[in-house]
Subunit: 252 residues, 2 copies
Amino acid sequence: MGMIQIIGINGLPIVKEGDNLAKLICESAEKQGTPIRDGDILVVTHVVASRAEGKIVNLDDVVPSEFAKKIAMQYDKDPAMVEVVLRESKSIKRMGDGKLITETKHGFVCANSGVDKSNVPGERIVALLPDDPDASAEKIRQEIKRLTSYDVAVIISDTHGRPLREGEINVAIGVAGIKPIRDRRGEKDLFGYVLRVKQTAVADELSSAAELVIGQADEAVPVAIIRGYKYPKSENAKATELIRPPEKDLFL
Amino acid sequence: MGMIQIIGINGLPIVKEGDNLAKLICESAEKQGTPIRDGDILVVTHVVASRAEGKIVNLDDVVPSEFAKKIAMQYDKDPAMVEVVLRESKSIKRMGDGKLITETKHGFVCANSGVDKSNVPGERIVALLPDDPDASAEKIRQEIKRLTSYDVAVIISDTHGRPLREGEINVAIGVAGIKPIRDRRGEKDLFGYVLRVKQTAVADELSSAAELVIGQADEAVPVAIIRGYKYPKSENAKATELIRPPEKDLFL
């Protein structure tokens, strides 16, 4: 019988720039009676990683360009917010319905370049995505190894809307220690049929699983432990492997 | 501390047309020492529901149309398989790279109208999607209520590729007893900021979480129990609420 546990970590203090996030996570996990173990997967919502890295912006400090002002007026948005979203983007994909769908510097296509207003202190404070979410994940992983000697996988997650389907789900934007895609091509099914097209986006599934404890709590749960999943290990995988190049995208 | 368990149910016999799937699930869960409890969520892969409902086709019995033959030749596919995929579809979205992206009769956009070759006995046997996956889920739910007196949620899941991102994830194509989308608009975040655009596709996240035990096992795990998640209840929700109408889709 396979069994996986998803354990929300709460009790983290408000994370500030320069904080040792790995240490805070270890301490909070220990304190609530679920210390981190070897082989755990830690799913960390990007906002806490961004806060620890100082990737926050006060919209009052932002001078919007004429272009940002024009878009803001047209789509009834905050010009400073639009300016930040544009700065964080490589290209604008679509605008409408009060939303800006952009391609981030990393290549993720999502609303507002991933710039987040929630779970950030202050009405005018927003959190950007980390510059290199894989590096953010690896930093946490290495620090946990140093503190506990355990090898864990770390996933930085974000909440994304998606084409075709309503509602948002959590997906992986940074990974460390884990392959984001499990390649099952060549494996046999129950009846010996060889799977030909099965590549499972396990890092996205793990992020979505973690959201079940992150999203349901009354108190803040910015990190989840997933325990009991034999993940495909990797020392150099990147979450950008999850980005499908447009020329390969049959859905678009 | 929030904790959720994902428990794979194995030991199910090969499901045949007319089998009482709910009973088989309850018996297998009991046998492996994890009997179903009130408030559990059961995620059932569509292939077993389809098999129980006799939604299987022997490709040797299918006479392909001239159109199916033409497409099959052009894209190097089995003409009988193409014929079945077309019969199960409302429209063809894209063809290429050996794949047919279609809109199913239910409105789901996926590869091959969800027609599945894996985990079906026989090289030439394929499983279709259930005619009404919500009804399939409700039938299992009601039968479990009758057998155990417990109220559970049931999700019928399928493996879907998706636009923009590589790799497949499991999503919900049928639901019973649970709202597929949790509307969090109006809830407050950690700092009192009122969430404005948060609608979480929890049925998809639960399906993806279940895949972690369904997909990793060496033996067949067609069903998972998710325990400890306080799901939004509903007596009449439909998985088609997860389908975004094209006119509302800013990503496409």
